[in-house]
């Protein structure tokens, strides 16, 4: 790739090049500043923050705030740290991402390769789900969870995120599979593969890029969600975001800013990790559907 693109890159003079890099560097610094402040202050004892300069490097380096944020900080009534809530989030995110991606793939497959009467209308309605604001479903959703006996549970949150996510994942997979040659499906039919065999053996193995897109999108959205977590979870199932809020908002004692910074980084870490690991596939996957079609 890089070798081939060399001839086509626009040739620029040295001065222009230096200017470009300088501008990019400035912007990078600008965007990295908050992260810098957070990291630096999470590694300081509290008095250095309250008495000193937010921008300064720590005089005494310590990981105590991190340890405290993870396992000791007072959240709600108990001093458990973020640890249990982190696991709550994981227990919610993993099944919700997996199920919404799989169902989205299945929907995309049916909507493009097993056309039926009214399929476009159905797809339109599913798209509509992407635009429903969270707030207006809060009360009906609470009712539904109550009826299913899922109120306040992790599985209740999984259900909520699943329902909300399907609209997006279906959109992704439908557009991706629309560009997938129908002749392949027909060939597989002649070869004797059934509905699910075609899905598993032919379509899914070719869906890598769009699965990455769907997983990243769903993971960040569900992990970062606050409203549903705050509305539908109880103490045993509260996700990380809600716990972070409770920690920062807690009214008793001194405000331990260094612990808050560490907790905030901890809460953001998984999404950051997902982006670093799979980020470059994200753009590629988004492009794949549009360019091919």
């Amino acid at each position: 790739m890089s070798v081939a693109s060399q001839d086509t890159t626009i040739r620029t003079g040295r001065v222009t090049r230096a200017l470009i890099y300088l501008t990019l560097l400035l912007f990078a610094l600008f965007y990295l500043m908050p992260l810098f402040v957070m990291v630096v202050n999470s590694l300081k004892p509290l008095h250095e923050i309250t008495s000193g300069n937010m921008m300064a490097l720590p005089e005494v380096w310590t990981i105590e705030p991190w340890r405290k944020a993870w396992s000791e900080a007072q959240i709600g009534v108990q001093a458990t740290g973020l640890k249990p809530y982190f696991w709550n989030s994981i227990k919610m995110v993993v099944p919700a991402v997996f199920l919404s991606t799989m169902l989205g793939a299945l929907n995309g497959y049916v909507l493009t390769k097993w056309r039926f009467r009214g399929d476009t209308i159905l797809f339109g309605l599913m798209l509509f789900a992407c635009f429903i604001p969270f707030q207006i479903v809060l009360i009906p959703m609470a009712r539904v969870l109550g009826i299913f006996g899922l109120a306040g549970t992790t599985w209740g949150l999984v259900l909520v995120h699943l329902v909300y996510g399907i609209g997006f994942t279906t959109l992704y997979f439908r557009n991706y599979y629309a560009a997938f040659p129908t002749e392949l499906v027909r060939a597989a039919q002649i070869d004797g593969a059934g509905f699910f065999q075609i899905f598993w053996r032919i379509l899914l193995p070719s869906s890598g890029p769009i699965i990455v897109v769907s997983v990243i999108w769903q993971f960040t959205n569900i992990w970062n969600d606050f409203l549903f977590g705050a509305s539908f979870a109880d103490f045993s199932s509260q996700p990380m975001t809600v716990a972070l809020n409770n920690l920062v908002q807690s009214s008793h004692g001194v405000k331990e800013y260094n612990v808050h910074f560490a907790a905030a980084i901890l809460a953001a870490l998984p999404t950051l990790l997902v982006y670093i690991v799979a980020g470059r596939y994200f753009v590629r996957g988004l492009m794949a559907g549009s360019v091919k079609g």
Binding site: P181, E183, L184, R186, A187, A188, Q189, I190, D191, G192, A193, Q197, R201, I202, P205, S206
Partner: protein, 371 residues
Amino acid sequence: MGFLDIDNTTKSYGPVEVLHEIDITVEEGEFLVLVGPSGCGKSTLLNMIAGLEEITSGEIRIKDQVMNGVHPSKRNIAMVFQSYALYPNMTVGQNITFGLEMHGVPKAERDKAMNDVAQLLQIEQLLDRKPGQLSGGQRQRVAMGRALVRNPDVFLFDEPLSNLDAKLRVDMRTEIKKLHHNLGTTIVYVTHDQIEAMTLSTRIAVMNGGYVQQLGTPKEIYDTPSNLFVATFMGSPSMNLIPVKLRVDGEAVVAETESSEGDTLSLSVPNPSARLKSYNGQTVTMGVRPEALTDAEGADHRSTHIEKVLNKVTVTEPAGSDTFVTTTIGGAECVARMRADTEATPEEVTEFAFNMEKAVFFDPKSEDRIV
């Protein structure tokens, strides 16, 4: 009762009927080519045989078994698609054996079948590659391998050569013909290329607008097209169509037309039918293939009805083996196929020889051939 019967079959999409009462019987070992212009319904008919499209009315039978509603995988057919439709995530070997695997054939047997087919098509060295790493011709072979390995009753091909370049197309054409010759399987083959149709088939169905215009051997289709559509669609350069006035004189029939110089040309028609005679005094369309309109030296020696006329040449197009000479007869532009070293020169009058044994006549209104 043939091997494959297409019996009064129609196909409609909603209120639109795209195939009208198709009736074709294919015998075992035949190579039937469906040919016609784009959108005439060739693929639709093939997909109906394969079971990929529903049959609106009528019946399709293979070996006397009614196939309506039978799943594609249970018809014992195999299909080669225009885009080859190789599974991109599987190796060539897996592509070839996927169908067997789906039919529950044990691994050892699958591997044996795969190796046999790979040997037959000379793709043994490709078995571990992915389709993305193959050239067009190699993909074509793999697609055929996938069809062959199933050992089906009927092979269906949908324009399998149209994605290849000209040279490879000719090579693969020969290979398909060889394959058919060696294996003797029944083949239904779709193409819009009339040369492919002529060279490969044992019989051709020429289709247009959802109708089968003519069903017959390549020779029948070429020499005695049943209507003007078939006459012009098959053959390249296409058949010359000259308006002529028929004059009956006892047993003899003469077709009269006008040369480029304004002279009347009288061409006597051998063995005229009674139908043809009934057109006495009327203008009909005479069809003459370019190879039946030549220079005097190039005319068919065995023909007993060569009519020589003088006419002015418009254009000459040397094509290596022959020279195509364009002229105007009876107001219609005609192409004559002359020897490569013909003396014909543009804007000069030269001698043209009509082989009247090969001339056919069409009713200008119904466009059907007058038999």
